[in-house]
C-alpha cells in the first residue's frame, strides 16, 4: 500500500510539472484563446517583441528615388503615399532625391509596396536609406 501511494504521488508531481511547463514555455495556444487573433504557426512572444520594435524604431522611413527632378511631376509620389491608410505624412526632398514617409502608430509599409508606389508615380526606387 505504501509503495502504491508513493507511485501515485510521484506520477502526480510529474504530470503537474509537465502541465505547468506547457503553459509557460511551450505556450500551447490550443489550450486557450486570445481576443481578436489566431496563434497557429508563430511565436507569440517574438511577434510582440517585433511589433514593439517597429513601433519604436520604424515610425518613419527614408527612401531614395531616382529621376525626381520636377516638383510638379513628383506630386504623384506624395499623393499616392498619403492615400495609404498606414501613412501619416509624406515629405519630398528634391535636393537629396529622398522621400520621407511618416507612419501612423504601429503601422508599416513593406518594401515591395513602397517600390510599387514609387514606380507607379513614374520614378525609380533605389532603396531604403
Amino acid at each position: 500500500m505504501k509503495t502504491l501511494v508513493l507511485i501515485l504521488f510521484t506520477f502526480n508531481i510529474n504530470t503537474s510539472f509537465v502541465f505547468a511547463e506547457s503553459q509557460s514555455s511551450d505556450h500551447n495556444h490550443k489550450r486557450h484563446e486570445h481576443k481578436g487573433h489566431k496563434h497557429e504557426g508563430h511565436d507569440h512572444k517574438m511577434e510582440d517583441k517585433k511589433a514593439e520594435f517597429k513601433e519604436i524604431s520604424k515610425d518613419k522611413v527614408v527612401i531614395k528615388v531616382q529621376g525626381m527632378v520636377c516638383a510638379f511631376c513628383a506630386q504623384g509620389i506624395k499623393k499616392n503615399f498619403n492615400a495609404k491608410k498606414e501613412v501619416k505624412e509624406t515629405k519630398v526632398d528634391l535636393d537629396k532625391m529622398e522621400v520621407t514617409i511618416l507612419f501612423k502608430k504601429g503601422q508599416q509599409l513593406s518594401k515591395k509596396v513602397m517600390e510599387e508606389t514609387v514606380t507607379d508615380a513614374g520614378f525609380k526606387f533605389v532603396g531604403v536609406k
Binding site: 520636377c70 499623393k79 528634391l94 507607379d120 513614374g122
Partner: protein, 211 residues
C-alpha cells in the same frame, strides 16, 4: 482665305499644350490653351504611369463653327530616370470628329511623337505631330522648346522657368508658318501655368492641373 487662316490658327494652337500626355497612375490631368485663335481644353486620365486616355475639345473663338473633338491614347514609350535628370519618349494616337472647314463634320486622326529631357535647371523638348482628315490634306507640326530655371525651388515652393519655343507648321496646301515665343512658366504644387507673346504678337496662355 480668311477662313483658312482661322483654321490654321486653331490647329496650330490646339496641339501645343500637351506638355504632360501621361502622368502618375490614377491621376487626372486637366489642361488647356487659350489664345486669340484657340480655346483648347483637354482631360487625361492615367490608368498606368505609362498609359493615359484623353478627351480634347477645341474651338476657334473667332469662328465658333470651327471645332473638333478627339479621343487620344497616350503612351510613355520609354523613360530614363537618371541620378539628376529625367528623360521621356511619348507617342500619341487618336481619332474623332472635326469641322475644320466650318461646314462639314469629318473623321479626324491624330498621331504624334514627343521627346523631352530635364533636370532641375534645364529643360528641352522636341515634338512632331500630324493631324489627318480623309479628304483634306494633312497638317504637320514640329515644336522645339528649351527652358532654364533661374533658381532651384524646394518641393512645396513656387517654381519659375523661362522658356523659348520654336514652332513650324506645315499644311498640305503648301502653307508654312514658323513662330518663336518666349514664355514664363510658373508652377506651385499641382498647378502650372505659362504665359507668353510670340514675336508675331500672339499672346498665349497655358494651364495644367493634376490631381
Amino acid at each position: 482665305m480668311s477662313k483658312l487662316i482661322l483654321v490654321m490658327g486653331m490647329v496650330v494652337f490646339s496641339l501645343t499644350s500637351q506638355a504632360h500626355p501621361v502622368s502618375f497612375k490614377g491621376s487626372t490631368g486637366i489642361m488647356g490653351h487659350h489664345s486669340p485663335f484657340m480655346a483648347h481644353n483637354q482631360i487625361n486620365y492615367s490608368f498606368e504611369y505609362w498609359w493615359a486616355l484623353g478627351v480634347h475639345h477645341f474651338q476657334n473663338p473667332q469662328d465658333q463653327d470651327l471645332k473638333a473633338s478627339v479621343v487620344t491614347s497616350n503612351f510613355l514609350l520609354k523613360r530614363w530616370n537618371g541620378k539628376s535628370f529625367q528623360s521621356n519618349l511619348y507617342a500619341l494616337v487618336g481619332g474623332g470628329i472635326s469641322t475644320l472647314d466650318g461646314i462639314e463634320q469629318k473623321g479626324t486622326g491624330a498621331v504624334g511623337l514627343q521627346y523631352d529631357i530635364e533636370d532641375r535647371r534645364y529643360y528641352f523638348l522636341a515634338k512632331h505631330m500630324n493631324l489627318l482628315t480623309k479628304e483634306d490634306s494633312a497638317f504637320y507640326q514640329s515644336v522645339v522648346r528649351v527652358g532654364i530655371a533661374p533658381y532651384e525651388g524646394d518641393f512645396d515652393e513656387l517654381h519659375a522657368w523661362l522658356i523659348l519655343e520654336w514652332r513650324k507648321n506645315e499644311w498640305g496646301q503648301g502653307f508654312v508658318m514658323e513662330d518663336t515665343t518666349p514664355m514664363l512658366r510658373f508652377f506651385y504644387q499641382n498647378l502650372l501655368f505659362e504665359i507668353g507673346q510670340s514675336f508675331r504678337g500672339i499672346t498665349r496662355f497655358n494651364y495644367i492641373i493634376h490631381f
